[in-house]
Amino acid sequence: MAFDKDLHVKYIESLDRQTDTFEYWVTEHIRISGAYWGLSGLFLLGREDVMDKEGIVTHVKKCQHESGGFGGNVGHDPHMLYTLSAVQILVLYDSMEGVDVDGIVNYIKGNQLPDGSFQGDEWGEVDHRFTYCAFNCLTLLGRLSDIDIESTVQYVKKTLNWDGGFGVAPGHESHSAYIFCCVGTLAIAERLDEINADKLAWWLCERQVPDGGLNGRPEKKSDVCYSWWVISAMAMLGRLHWIDKASLISFILKCQDTQGGIGDKPGNMADVFHTFFGLAGLSLLGFENDGVPLNPIEPIFAMPPAVLDRIGVKQRTAPQRTTVPKGTPGCL
């Protein structure tokens, strides 16, 4: 299916009107993340103007809890995931005025544990997603130095597995999404020298399977969201050229829904999560629609580079390698 930009714009725009559907109800607790995925997808398509900026900003600000963190929807308990999504939306819209920034920083600081890891909320789950959320969010706010960066770097290093990858916590199976989180954290901290980039990039490019798509771990089927987690990590490691780009682009395009949006696999229904990550993957791969590229996305923060420049976030450089090692899976 050829890439149909207008259809994808229409799909994303329509989502907030479908308030009487099963899918809308079962995702009410993650509404704020859904808003981030939809809005970011529209930024990639250059059509962020179709959304109700005032309405979204007002709704997001209502999700801030007295603790400083943000919940997934109004009246919901705060959580690191939704705190990041909220800040990303407000930064995208340049609408941070009136937000309790110190409150956000204190909420995030309060979730850092003595070993450098981060919990998601008061219930104590420790997971590298929250490490990445903390680093990304505080950098967007210009307050990364408010936390103990070194202890987190040491904790991430402890999670390094024998295969060069990272799992959810020390000792657990390597997983592309957690690799993204750990590589992103180290990239933000400018400590990518702490890992063996070649070994990790090798594991990552083995995620490409015969249909051209990427999976999250060995023996799993390909899924469009890994078009982001894997290749953004490879971009951060300076080894995106190890992936067979053409077949990955072809896979993502096959995952488009004829009604608009992108699904996780060819033939499956679209959802806003896979739509955003499919578009982000296409952007990072340099896909052009009728000779026009999608708007760029920065791989570490998953934000438009122009927005990061606007708020003064420093560019991080990837460790470079000029040649592809013999036997690298993407070349087989």
Binding site: W25, V26, G72, W123, E173, D198, E206, R217, E219
Partner: protein
């Protein structure tokens, strides 16, 4: 002998809601599952040897969710129970249950464990469900008995079986074996053996093999016992790989087993692993008379064998590749196969 009784014949949603809630709280009910094949909109009840199994058609589930959404999710405690059966990812509902339990204290834990079993059997992949399970284990840690531990192991394995490579179920299982006071070295070694048998029937279960690698790393027994355990792991893997070819999971585990050798004081050479790699490279060269199926299997085996050998060359400490225990002719043979 199973008997089926239809609980009601229409979509009276308040009745659906009440009957689903009754099933959740009925101690005889061992399992509630989505039943997409019933062809009806009725909730069914099957009597089996293990207890009652309740089937919920997707249309009934959607109707009840809509009902909860419209009527308000705070109307009664039953809402939370049903929300989680039908949408186990609803974090706020788990938080409500947790707050309720914290008021009750550990006296309410067994009821909570039963509810979690129902939810996880219906939603074996649910991240929020497993997150709550982990929290419950911490909440009840002081009171948890060996029976609790084994019940947890059994539930985790059931969910791993229902959904292969079920990441969060394996995470929970590994945390049990790393952190529970009931996970002695003897129990860990027995579990590793059980996993070798598990993988023999499921050679693509990479998560199970990864579990064994992590449990091995957590052993605190003597070097001799660890060495024997690793030797058993190698032998089981070799038997499996000779019988079932083309699996990324087994070739991945061979990388781990090979790299474990590199730190051994004696015979750390990758010679035997490379010999196996070359044998498989040669055996997987397609023959013109091969059927389409055989050709496809050989292609997979060749891919993984060549990637394995490349991986060893790139990651093995250089002094081991050039040591007297590593045959340079073997290395050259493999290199020329990889070039070809």
């Amino acid at each position: 002998k199973a008997t089926v009784s239809v609980l009601y014949c229409n979509m009276d949603v308040p009745l659906l809601y009440a009957d689903l809630l009754r099933s959740i709280h009925d101690e005889r009910v061992m399992e509630i599952s989505f039943d997409p094949y019933s062809g009806t909109k009725e909730i069914t009840q099957n009597e089996t040897e293990d207890g009652l199994v309740v089937g919920v058609p997707p249309e009934a589930a959607k109707a009840v969710m809509k009902y909860i959404w419209k009527e308000g999710r705070d109307r009664d405690e039953g809402c939370v129970d049903i929300m989680l059966m039908l949408n186990a990812e609803h974090g706020p509902s788990w938080a409500k249950r947790g707050k309720r339990l914290m008021k009750e204290g550990t006296g309410g834990v067994s009821k909570e464990e039963r509810f979690l079993r129902l939810v996880l059997k219906m939603n074996p992949k649910s991240h929020e469900g497993w997150k709550y399970k982990a929290w419950l284990s911490r909440f009840n840690m002081a009171e948890a008995t060996a029976e609790h531990f084994e019940a947890d192991v059994e539930l985790s394995l059931l969910c791993c079986e229902r959904h292969p490579r079920n990441y969060y179920a394996w995470v929970h299982l590994l945390e049990l074996f790393k952190n529970s006071r009931h996970a002695t070295d003897e129990r860990r070694l027995a579990m590793m053996k059980q996993m070798r048998d598990w993988v023999a029937a499921r050679p693509s279960d990479h998560s199970a093999l990864s579990f064994n690698a992590s449990v091995f790393a957590s052993l605190t027994c003597t070097a001799d016992i660890k060495g024997q355990c690793l030797a058993d792991e190698r032998e089981a893997l070799a038997t499996l790989m000779n019988r079932r070819t083309g699996h990324e999971a087994t070739w991945g585990h061979l990388r781990w087993v090979t790299s474990c050798k590199w730190s051994e004081p004696y015979d750390a050479s990758p010679q035997s692993s490379l010999q196996f790699g070359l044998k498989q490279l040669i055996a997987s060269v397609p023959d013109p008379t091969d059927s389409v199926l055989i050709k496809s299997e050989k292609t997979l085996e060749h891919t993984w064998a060549s990637r394995f050998c490349s991986w060893v060359f790139r990651n093995c400490p250089p002094h081991l590749l050039t040591s007297p225990h590593t045959d340079p002719n073997l290395v050259r043979s493999i290199e020329s196969h990889l070039e070809a």
